[in-house]
């Protein structure tokens, strides 16, 4: 068994070594690798330095991003703080403005009321030309509450109609404060006509369609969250307040506009909003008027709930809030509030986005830097490991497997080349000595094989002779069988002739059947003629009955006409009154007669209809009989045709039987030939048998010659053995593995 395995392996080796010489292949591979390395050196453009700079840039951008994020975190606190402050400031300043304006106005009004000449002098004075213009304008436009004038210095002048007196009052220098730096003032000033907000002009868009100048007042407030505006003539406003509020909501795009209005002229209007009250208490409770209003509204029992909004009606309401002097001159209060969230929320959203972006950037940078460090360090560690292994003598290891496109890659490539060259030299030595060894081994084992196969050859030849004999016997059998077949064919032929005679008899019987069917066709044709005559008579009956029906229809028509005449006659009789009574009886009788004749005509028509129906039914039956006859004759004709066909087929059969008989005799001839061939085969087989014996003798002589070559090879192999032991100190990759060389040693021992 062991020998066989070894032999198989040797054979495989033989096939491999034949395909390519191992030494030449090794040298070629080395030179190829060197060429590749040189080409790569030119192509390598990306260095470690470049990689480092890219990393640095990424790191810097990441750092800046994080810095920005942290800055925005700080900024957010600042913004939220300052925005709240600003809101408070602006609302507070407006509150103060209102307070000052109130007191100043009260003073001025008192002066005006005490001295009416002053107003007249105003009118005459050229200095107040502008005032007169507004006076005229406001008088002719009762829907306008008033006009604000803003001058270049930032001072505010207010023209309001005082509708109770019918005069227009101008207020100059309401406060000493300069509003030129206020954002709402700037916005107003930037419009095309900064001195005057005319009726029906939108400041923002320049569109017309404003109901009153209230919008001109309110628009600046859009840019100042939370402020107060005073104005007069609340009666008018309160009538129109809902429309105005809705309009404000649409035009200012502020969701939470709340208009709070108190009117001295009779109506106090207030929308309750918990937030707003809280705001008022915090920001403007220092103003006595407002604090009074709040406390009153919170504690009042005379509130009316209408659509979830509270209204306090009655003139007395104002008296409770304001002192009598103020009530005279102060008509209303409008407060417009912008939503705090409207201002802050976009900023907050921006901050959230920035924080998310920053965190994503940090994550990205950290992963990139980790991967870069890993790429630089890992190859160096690998090189160190592999070099120590090479030092121990294992030359099959490569310094670095990864073909890195950096300085480390070049270093690893150089070391790889060195190791490969050393490895190549040693492996060449080992390989060449091994090859010699292998060749001699093969030769040795080849000899044994030749011996063995020659003895096997002898045995095979003997077996062949025996099988040839068996073959001869079977050929004889075939010969016998073909003889028997020959006899069988002869008897077949006789039976065929008997069959032919019976065919002729059936032919005669067929002729009789044909005659009978021809007679049947003739008799059915006669029946058809009789039926035609009958149906002709039927047609005559139905035609005459149609004529009768026509006559009856005429009778019916006459009866109908008579009936109509009778009806009209009875109408005439009725018109004649008492004189027509007798005539009406006659008319009645006539109509009865007409009806009876109509009825009998109908009955006749009915009877005729029935007769026609019956005639038609019998006609149908005759038709069906005709079709039956027709079918019989066609069937008979078909039968005749089929009989003729059968005759033709019988003749064909006859012919075929005759042919079969002929063929049977041919088969018999063939069988004879087969028997002859079988005999010839038999002779040839016997000749082969004698040839085999001679071949056997020659092979035996061959075996003894081979044994002398065996001894010479044994001595040659001993010497190569010592060379191999020396070379095995190095670990080298050779085509045949180490285990194989060990096995080879065992084989050699066995052979010795």
């Amino acid at each position: 068994m062991a020998e066989q395995i070894i032999e198989n392996k040797i054979e495989k080796e033989l096939v491999k070594s034949e395909s390519k010489d191992p030494i030449i292949a090794q040298v070629e591979a080395l030179s190829e690798k060197e060429n590749q390395r040189k080409e790569k050196k030119f192509k390598q453009k990306t260095t470690l330095k470049r990689r480092a700079t890219i990393f640095l840039v990424l790191f810097l951008t990441g750092g800046i991003a994080t810095a920005v994020v942290t800055l925005y975190f700080l900024g957010r606190q600042y913004i939220s703080g300052t925005t709240a402050e600003k809101l408070q400031d602006s609302s507070h300043s407006y509150a103060l403005f209102v307070q000052q304006a109130l007191s100043r106005r009260a003073e001025l009004l008192r002066e005006y009321s005490s001295n009416k000449n002053l107003i007249e002098s105003f009118n005459k004075d050229e200095k107040y030309k502008v005032r007169r213009i507004f006076n005229n304008y406001l008088q002719s436009h009762p829907d306008i509450e008033g006009v604000w004038l803003l001058n270049r210095k930032g001072n505010v002048s207010v023209f309001n109609t005082h509708r109770s007196t019918g005069s227009v009052i101008q207020w100059d220098e309401l406060t000493n404060k300069n509003y030129s730096k206020e954002p709402w003032f700037e916005k107003c000033y930037k419009t095309k006509n900064p001195l005057f907000f005319p009726n029906k002009v939108d400041i923002d868009t320049g569109k017309t369609g404003m109901p009153t100048n209230l919008y001109a007042w309110v628009t600046p407030l859009k840019y100042n969250a939370g402020c107060l505006v005073l104005f007069e003539n609340t009666i008018y406003l309160s009538q129109d307040i809902f429309r105005k509020r809705e309009y404000l909501k649409k035009t200012t795009h502020l969701d939470s506009i709340q208009v709070h209005l108190t009117g001295a002229s009779g109506v106090l209007y207030w929308t309750t909003s918990v937030d707003w009250l809280r705001f008022l208490r915090q920001q403007v409770s220092s103003i006595p008027v407002i604090s009074k209003a709040i406390s009153y509204l919170e504690g009042s029992e005379s509130r009316i709930n209408y659509k979830n909004q509270y209204y306090v009606a009655g003139y007395t309401a104002i008296e409770k809030i304001l002192n009598p002097q103020e009530t005279l001159f102060w008509d209303g209060l409008v407060v417009v509030q912008a939503d705090y969230k409207e201002v802050i929320k976009p900023l907050e959203d921006l901050l959230y986005i920035l924080v998310i972006l920053g965190s994503i950037l940090i994550l990205l940078i950290s992963t990139i830097s980790y991967s870069v460090a890993k790429k630089v360090l890992n190859p160096l560690i690998d090189i160190e490991k592999n070099l120590s292994e090479i030092g121990e003598g294992n030359l099959t290891v490569k310094v670095l497997k990864i073909q890195d496109v950096t300085e480390i890659g070049f270093l690893a490539n150089g070391l790889n080349l060195m190791v490969e060259k050393v490895h190549g030299l040693i492996s060449l030595m080992v390989q060449s000595s091994r090859a010699v060894m292998e060749w001699s081994q093969r030769l040795f084992s080849g000899l044994g094989n030749v011996q063995k196969s020659s003895s096997e050859q002898v045995a095979v030849l003997e077996e062949a002779a025996a099988s040839v004999e068996e073959f001869t016997a079977s050929v004889q059998k075939i010969h016998d069988a073909s003889q028997k077949q020959l006899n069988g064919a002869e008897t077949n032929r006789k039976k065929m002739h008997e069959l032919n005679e019976s065919f002729e008899e059936t032919g005669k019987k067929r002729e009789v059947i044909l005659e009978n069917s021809r007679q049947a066709v003739d008799s059915s044709k006669q029946g058809l003629g009789l039926i035609d005559d009958f149906s002709q008579d039927m047609k005559g009956i139905s035609e005459s009955s149609k004529r009768i029906i026509g006559i009856i229809n005429v009778i019916d028509d006459i009866a109908d006409q008579t009936n109509l005449l009778a009806l009209n006659a009875s109408i005439e009789a009725a018109r004649a009154g008492e004189h027509g009574k007798g005539f009406s009886v006659v008319a009645h009788e006539v109509s009865e007669l007409a009806k009876r004749s109509a009825n009998s005509a109908q009955e006749i028509a009915k009877l005729i209809h029935e007769t026609v129906k019956k005639v038609k039914a019998s006609n149908d039956r005759v038709e069906s009989a005709r079709s039956v006859f027709g079918r019989i004759s066609t069937l008979m004709e078909k039968l005749e045709e089929q009989i003729n066909q059968v005759t033709d087929m019988a003749k064909d059969q006859e012919k075929m039987v005759f042919e079969t008989a002929e063929r049977a005799s041919i088969v018999a001839g063939l069988a004879r030939e087969i028997a002859e061939q079988a005999r010839l085969q038999n002779q040839a087989a016997e000749e082969i048998n004698s040839g085999m014996g001679k071949a056997n003798e020659i092979t035996a002589a061959n075996v003894s010659e081979l044994e002398s070559v065996d001894e010479i090879l044994q001595t040659f192999m001993d010497k190569i053995q010592t060379l191999l032991v020396a070379a095995n100190q190095f670990k080298v990759k050779v085509k045949s593995s180490e285990t194989k060389t060990e096995e080879r040693l065992k084989i050699e021992e066995m052979l010795l």
Binding site: L564, L567, S570, I571, A574, A587, S591
Partner: protein, 173 residues
């Protein structure tokens, strides 16, 4: 059922006529005609004559039930379709279709009916007033119901049927 106090309600009018009829004679002659599946009746005094269907000239801008006008011995008279007037389905004219020419307020008007059956003599006692269950619009149309053996005849109110004809007839003349 509210009581009929109205002086001009059809019930009242018929009641008065009935009283008159009782005074003069006890038999009323009624021409029986059919529209759809129902038998209707009309007092013979109101009928001028009964004729077969003949060609009708259609008039533009008239209500549905005014079929047009026809020539009756040189007179142009309006034609009213009773099927259309009663809101029934329109059908093709048959050999039984008749025109009843009535004398309405001294003007002749022809009415298209499905069939004229006969003239019947009805004792005045067999004629009853309006049935209770009919609606107001039907009340205007129905004068009463005549009961003769197994036959029930609805007597139609000519005033209601032809009230819109008056203006038209005036226009034609």
């Amino acid at each position: 059922m509210p009581s009929n106090d109205n002086m001009f309600s059809p019930d009242r009018i018929y009641q008065k006529k009935k009283e008159k009829a009782v005074a003069s004679s006890e038999i009323v002659q009624i021409i029986v005609f059919s529209v759809g599946n129902e038998d209707y009746g009309l007092e013979i005094e109101k009928v001028q004559e009964i004729i077969r269907m003949r060609t009708i000239k259609h008039l533009p801008h008239t209500p549905d039930f005014i079929l047009g006008v026809m020539n009756l011995r040189g007179n142009i008279i309006p034609v009213v379709g009773l099927r259309e007037k009663f809101g029934m389905e329109k059908i093709e004219y048959t050999e039984f279709t008749r025109l009843i020419v009535v004398n309405h307020k001294n003007k002749l008007v022809a009415m298209v009916v499905d069939e004229v059956n006969k003239v019947v003599n009805v004792p005045i006692g067999n004629i009853e007033g309006n049935p209770d269950m009919v609606s107001d619009s039907t009340r205007a149309l129905v004068r009463g119901v005549a009961n003769l053996d197994d036959l029930v005849i609805i007597l139609v109110e000519l005033d209601y049927l032809l009230y819109s004809i008056d203006e038209l007839a005036a226009g034609i003349e």
